[in-house]
């Protein structure tokens, strides 16, 4: 059997055996969160329809560039995390200890832009009580920011496991234990969800006229 056959055999096995990425419990949490944010999105569009003029005028004061830059930050961060997971699954554990801090750096970039944006709004006298649009803007982006902060903690944990795996690799010939992989996939899935929610929030709050 040549290497190409080996590869296709592995691929076939992966196709036959479906695999939940991470703990089932984390998926209950992720889907619950997506359900809640889904309802948020729908409520927002409904109330927008009742006073389009107010929402459009308020939206015009938001900085689209900040929204777009933050989308890029989270996408880049997600790529680093996906690459780190792939690296650990392949039991090489060379990239993960570098890529996870880079993912955190992107998360930090998101936070810095968000704080600059909030500061600009607040110093212009725009707060959560200004009108309905800004109420939703602060609540949705604030809750999402809370998810980012929790996610940063998750990334620190993943980084810790990755570094641990490197030291274990010497002892166990590169074997990252199965239990660790489930934890790593769970954390990564959570971080990708944070990215996913922002992907919808960006056009919904900043772009949809």
């Amino acid at each position: 059997m040549n290497s190409a056959d080996c590869f296709s055999a592995v691929e076939r096995e992966a196709e036959i055996k479906p695999h939940v990425p991470g703990e089932v419990g984390i998926w209950v949490f992720i889907l619950g969160d997506m359900l809640i944010f889904g309802l948020f999105f729908i409520v927002f569009v409904y109330y927008r329809g009742l006073s389009v003029e107010l929402y459009s005028q308020s939206q015009a004061t938001l900085n689209k560039n900040y929204g777009a830059i933050n989308t890029l930050f989270l996408l880049a961060s997600s790529w680093f995390v996906a690459m780190a997971v792939d690296d650990m699954r392949n039991k090489t554990v060379k990239l993960a200890p570098v890529f996870l801090p880079l993912a955190m750096l992107c998360g930090l970039g998101f936070g810095v832009v968000k704080i600059i944006e909030y500061r600009e709004k607040i110093s212009a006298g725009i707060t959560i009580t200004s009108n309905d649009f800004y109420m939703y803007y602060y609540i949705f982006t604030g809750l999402h920011f809370l998810h980012v902060l929790i996610g940063m903690g998750v990334l620190v944990f993943l980084w810790h496991r990755a570094r641990l795996a490197v030291t274990q690799a010497d002892v166990r010939d590169g074997a990252v234990i199965e239990k660790d992989m489930v934890l790593i996939e769970s954390g990564a899935s959570y971080w990708h969800m944070v990215d996913l929610l922002w992907i919808v929030l960006f056009p919904l709050l900043y772009l949809m006229k």
């Binding site: 992966a14 479906p18 695999h19 939940v20 990425p21 998926w27 889907l31 997506m34 359900l35 889904g38 999105f41 729908i42 569009v45 409904y46 927008r48 329809g49 009742l50 689209k64 560039n65 929204g67 777009a68 989308t71 890029l72 996408l75 880049a76 997600s78 790529w79 995390v81 996906a82 690459m83 792939d86 990239l95 996939e185 990564a188 899935s189 990708h192 969800m193 990215d195 996913l196 992907i199 919808v200 960006f202 056009p203 919904l204 900043y206 772009l207 949809m208 006229k209």
Partner: protein
């Protein structure tokens, strides 16, 4: 590094970055007079469809749901379709409800 960029996840990531740039550009004012709001409506609907395509790509490739059991795939796709359709429907006809 080139080996990394050749992975499907990387190709998909590049596509997501480009789609974000496209959305940002579509969201700019293109000199459409404000007395033609229906033109904005098509752009806005397009922006939401792009966003939910991006969401599906993130779920499938980053969250690795493409390798998950059918039930999880269906739940995720169900969420995407329901929320996207509800947003676009309410955006166009919301007040009429």
């Amino acid at each position: 590094m080139i080996r990394l960029l050749a992975k499907p996840v990387s190709a998909v990531w590049l596509l997501l970055m480009l789609a974000t740039g496209l959305s940002w550009w579509l969201g700019l004012d293109h000199g459409i007079p404000s007395d033609q709001p229906s033109d904005y409506r098509y752009i806005s609907s397009g922006l939401m469809i792009i966003a939910f395509i991006k969401v599906r790509i993130v779920i499938r490739y980053f969250m690795e749901v493409r390798e998950a059991p059918l039930a999880l795939k269906l739940i995720c796709d169900g969420w995407i379709v329901l929320v996207c359709v509800a947003i676009i429907y309410l955006y166009w006809f919301g007040v009429a409800i």
